[in-house]
Symmetry: C5
Subunit: 264 residues, 5 copies
Amino acid sequence: MKAASMMRMVLMVVLCFGAAAWPARAADRETLLTQPGVYGTFAAFQMDHDWWDLTGEARVIAVSEVKGLVEQFAHKIVIDSYLLRGLSDHADIMFRIHAHALSDTQQFLTSLLGTRFGRHLVATSYLHGLTKQAAYVPGFPEQLKKDLQASSEAGGKSYAIVIPIRKDADWWALDQETRGALMQEHTQAALPYINTVKRKLYHSSGLDDFDFITYFETEKLDEFHRLIRALEQVKEFRHARRFGHPTLLGTVRPLDDILELFAR
Amino acid sequence: MKAASMMRMVLMVVLCFGAAAWPARAADRETLLTQPGVYGTFAAFQMDHDWWDLTGEARVIAVSEVKGLVEQFAHKIVIDSYLLRGLSDHADIMFRIHAHALSDTQQFLTSLLGTRFGRHLVATSYLHGLTKQAAYVPGFPEQLKKDLQASSEAGGKSYAIVIPIRKDADWWALDQETRGALMQEHTQAALPYINTVKRKLYHSSGLDDFDFITYFETEKLDEFHRLIRALEQVKEFRHARRFGHPTLLGTVRPLDDILELFAR
Amino acid sequence: MKAASMMRMVLMVVLCFGAAAWPARAADRETLLTQPGVYGTFAAFQMDHDWWDLTGEARVIAVSEVKGLVEQFAHKIVIDSYLLRGLSDHADIMFRIHAHALSDTQQFLTSLLGTRFGRHLVATSYLHGLTKQAAYVPGFPEQLKKDLQASSEAGGKSYAIVIPIRKDADWWALDQETRGALMQEHTQAALPYINTVKRKLYHSSGLDDFDFITYFETEKLDEFHRLIRALEQVKEFRHARRFGHPTLLGTVRPLDDILELFAR
Amino acid sequence: MKAASMMRMVLMVVLCFGAAAWPARAADRETLLTQPGVYGTFAAFQMDHDWWDLTGEARVIAVSEVKGLVEQFAHKIVIDSYLLRGLSDHADIMFRIHAHALSDTQQFLTSLLGTRFGRHLVATSYLHGLTKQAAYVPGFPEQLKKDLQASSEAGGKSYAIVIPIRKDADWWALDQETRGALMQEHTQAALPYINTVKRKLYHSSGLDDFDFITYFETEKLDEFHRLIRALEQVKEFRHARRFGHPTLLGTVRPLDDILELFAR
Amino acid sequence: MKAASMMRMVLMVVLCFGAAAWPARAADRETLLTQPGVYGTFAAFQMDHDWWDLTGEARVIAVSEVKGLVEQFAHKIVIDSYLLRGLSDHADIMFRIHAHALSDTQQFLTSLLGTRFGRHLVATSYLHGLTKQAAYVPGFPEQLKKDLQASSEAGGKSYAIVIPIRKDADWWALDQETRGALMQEHTQAALPYINTVKRKLYHSSGLDDFDFITYFETEKLDEFHRLIRALEQVKEFRHARRFGHPTLLGTVRPLDDILELFAR
């Protein structure tokens, strides 16, 4: 028990060591998170069962290696971390990585998988998308455009949900105007949730087996559920050939918390 | 053999230790189980084969850790336990967890998976849903409303079945009135089984890959089967794009019984 | 080699020990197998690769434990055993269990999985169904009813095939009379095979992901194949949304033979 | 290195020992391969990773056991062997077994799986079919019948491809004459490839999840590809509900070659 | 740490040893890559977790064996290597192999899988296709033909994407002229990307479960994404029964880089 508490102390030291550097990049982070032309990768992993056969000390050393790696990549990519364990059935951890080039993301993930921690990770879902200027908003009525600018920044955003979508061929065969009208109806249905559910869209045709990755953050999961219900009821939804599969549900967590959970 | 019987005794002591606390929470339990706005999680697990390589003593210690954990969470979540082993092919144990926040459920499941017992569990299905006020009942004829109030509390409810459902886009495109009429037909078909099969509905759009989780408890599985047959014959059933996959079938069991089975 | 032949002898003794009790229950067996309201479970298992790492002696002891278990349950359930190994790709052994309550079946399978033999079994498919009075036969013409009574008991029935079926929503939306007419055509198509292929139907809606489990026994697999071909050509077949997946094919075998195969 | 070369020599001796017996059955082989009413089984296996942890000597002993087994069954079944490794992604070896009874095939495969070699095999696909007299050819024009008799025996047949097919319900609902006309168009499209691609058809409805297994041998894979393209363009192809999944592609190989590959 | 750096040095020597031979075959390479009638195989592999249990020295020796093997086959096949790790979820490495005969490809892959490195590879996807003369281009307008000749060789091509496609039966039922018109629209939509995205088409009907393998190389992933979006919007896309599943995304990498990554 004594050895365990000592290791715990070591772990604390190790995890705190990098804590200062992490929030320091918040500014760049916001820039990268709002620009078009940025690649977003959602990488979900499962921890294999062998991990738990390591000694506590070995686990502490292993997670500390990850901390160092993340700092090393902080100058070119933005990494968000999520705990899926206990909420999604085939994944424990998810990273959302924003980068100007997917090769940077690959370099980070490859390095991660090469750490003593990463060697125990099984990649269960990689989704990639590109941020773009809103395609249909320019054609929306002025009032709707104005409504969309309402801030959704209020409050903490504890839950994150990723729903990838593949549209059917009929959707893509529609002309831009018709799609615009359908998206306006879609947007109107989503409007009541603009302050409680933060949304972000990634375009992924060709980069994975989907056309879009829809990403949500909210503190109020019931509001998020109502938003999805509202979206299921508009005509555009008929064109969702695949919606989810997987649906990834987790909580937004500092990497330190997640690593500590697996080091314990 | 002597060592084994001693361990068995230890196990009994360990399991009984928490037995008093468990039923003591029955009152809160009923409240949580009947309120709208509560999150219900169905978490099914498979025990890995390595579990059985542990010594009997190690298994007894491992399960006792789970008992303590459950008590520790008893003040904020309600946990029901089910034995799926021998009835469902890819799962051994299922927990149904009711909570005001899914983050509490996640905390419990994450803690569970971190125990010596949990490290051997493979999460095979997590389903999440929200309880709501009945959507269509207010528009039903008075007689039907009255019939629905018939108690279904009579007798023990030994079997539990979970059938998740995804509706098709056509369903969501119907107006509320039309859906209400279809649900009235559905409800009427289910009425003869109200006393033998207890039902509970969870709304899950966005929280997993389904729209609803239907949960059943019954002592009479043949009546339950007849209920599902009756529901397959109403028009609303045409809108079930996915029905089951998985269908989870098990028996309602005190956690002690389940743990003892795996400690033996 | 000497040790091996000794173990073989031990195995013989162990397996023969229970042999007397097994056929003694033939009478009850026939009753249970012909009554409506009985639950039939088809449980298919794969042997994991670790099994073969056990010593021959350990394997002999492990299988003898199963024999004892089966006898212990012989007073309430009827167990048929099948060898799927070498004929079905993801299963080695199948049990068909008839019981008045699925909880008895669960108790047996749970006990089985808890034996030293069972710990190496991976459950690949569990299918559950209920036997019922024939639904459409009462409306059939008298001659057809008479034809259906022809005995199909002649000869040994060496092969067994399980094909689970899910009907489409259109099927269930048909009225009883229309379904009856379609089933009469189906039955007529099956008539020529009544003496060579023994059939049994289980209703499974709600108990698993299927609506029916069709079970066949035959000595003449080519006749069985022709029967299925004949059934594919009637109108009712258009309503099979899923037919097979899995199709389980094996041979009817005394449990002793199967256990010996795995003890060797 | 010295030990390795000695083992290699032992392997050579072991493998050559049975080589004489193998081609000696060529005559019976041709008979069985051309009769209707014969069962054909395609059994594809993957070698598990543990196999390579065995010593070279252990592997040599293990494969020699297989040789003996094959000879032992040579009087009642015909076994062809294929190397899928390097061409099909989830299989390394395939056996095609022709037998008058599937129980003989099962006995062989069960024995095979029980050898030290077989314990490392994972069965990935078993397909079973029955050979029959051609169903539609009798109604074909005389010239087409004559064309079909052209020998396709010229040259070695180095590649083998297995494509299982499930037809849709519409196909089976067509009358024999309409199906005959469609099959005539199909046959005509295949005619140009009769000399370069050898075909064989197995009927499998009820025996696995397919209706037909189509088997091809060719030295010219590009001609085979063109044949499939031609068959995709006739009306009958619209009735293929499932075509492939799996498509098994490999090379025809003497068992000795395959065993040596895994013994090395 | 000292031992590690020494091993690193050994690795460098080992990897550099073959470096000279590799680019020396560039000329033959271009010939094989542009001829019709060549077989292209895409073989994606995952490294198993046991690999990382080997000592650093053992890993260095293992990868050096691969280098030698590749050189040995350089006279008859052309091998391109890709790093999928960190970008595709169920694969780490991909080889694209061009050969005049798939038997040569099989011989290489079988040899590769037999190396100490290859024994840790799990084959996740094998796709095979044949290069052909363009089927519809001869019927295109002269201007379009001319546009298609624009060089797409400018700049490095760092990313590679593989999207296999299965067409529906309706596509194959269209006459050549109609398909030609649809392909002309398709080609026109792709034209703006001819300088930034390099494309190559393989015909695979019969060789795997697809009809085509489309292969892309680009430095500008966003342009590639826009190309796919453009192709989704033409009528021909309605005939894609399966598009992707899997979509393989990776970076073009010299084999040395990839091997070093796994030797480290």
